[in-house]
């Protein structure tokens, strides 16, 4: 596997090097051909702009286009991240009511790894109804 990768890299390097050497010869010519008009040479700034600025700009544009979707979607929940977003509720015409008494200890069954039907709890029977608890 490693030799194959090395072989591949060697082939690419050799191809690029040979191609460069073959094509660069006109630039190394001592005299200009008759009728050639080389024009003005590029300033260092223009060279940087064309050969560095444009590729970097294109790279940044592509990165922006790729990540634009997730930026627009906003906060995304991830199970391994801390959740500190504001509480949200939907479809709930709430009326102010006295604060609930949280009598049970926190995380009493926090280690429960699966969905557990808990309709039989004593405090559930007081108001009737049902429901379940689940963790993920």
């Amino acid at each position: 596997m490693r030799s194959r990768t090395a072989h591949r890299a060697l082939v690419i390097a050799a191809t690029a090097g040979v191609t460069l050497l073959v094509t660069v010869t006109p630039a190394l010519a001592r005299e200009q051909d008759a009728g050639s008009d080389p024009g003005e040479s590029l300033s260092p700034l223009a060279t940087l702009l064309i050969f560095v600025g444009i590729p970097v700009g294109t790279f940044l544009l592509i990165v922006l286009l790729v990540s634009a979707g997730s930026i627009a979607r906003g906060t995304r929940y991830r199970p391994d991240r801390v959740w500190d977003a504001t509480a949200v509720e939907f479809g709930m015409p709430l009326q102010p009511a006295p604060a609930p008494e949280l009598t049970r200890p926190a995380g009493a069954d926090a280690s429960e790894p699966r969905a557990v039907a808990s309709g039989g709890r004593p405090e559930d029977d007081q108001s009737g109804g049902g429901g379940i608890s689940a963790r993920w």
Partner: protein, 138 residues
């Protein structure tokens, strides 16, 4: 202390994008269509027992006996489904457990709004299924 009571007037925060909020609202609308149950969703942190907090929140819903509350605490990775007295006749705990399994598996994959929407869709479908008039006892 992040009491669920205190957040009654807090607008939808940064937890969901407008598209995700629309997704959840549409799921509630579809689940409530045709049925007589009312669905509510709460997503937020809880200090204390999530079951107790969820039941306390459910008690505040007007006409709560026909209300179903889906209570999600992403910080504690806890999901509670609370059904009112009449709602529990249509939507028994077995149906809620199945919906909860679907939701928690989607939550584990990092899709909070999608899991909520899926769960609401399932709960709505269970609530809409035709009543069984004759049941085999064997």
């Amino acid at each position: 202390m992040t009491s669920p009571v205190a957040v009654g007037s807090v607008p939808a925060g940064e937890a969901f994008s407008p598209a995700q909020q629309e997704q959840i609202n549409r799921a509630i609308e579809i689940a409530e269509r045709e049925g007589e149950l009312r669905f509510a969703v709460y997503v937020g942190a809880t200090d204390g027992d999530t079951r107790v907090a969820a039941r306390a929140l459910h008690r505040q819903i007007p006409a709560r006996s026909r209300a179903v509350l889906v209570y999600v605490d992403p910080a504690r990775r806890a999901l509670e489904i609370v059904t009112g007295t009449e709602a529990s006749r249509v939507l028994d705990d077995r149906a809620c457990t199945l919906a909860a399994l679907a939701m928690t598996s989607t939550f584990s994959a990092g899709d909070l709004s999608g899991g909520i929407a899926d769960g609401l869709r399932l709960l709505g479908e269970y609530a809409h299924r035709p009543r069984v008039l004759h049941r085999d006892t064997l």
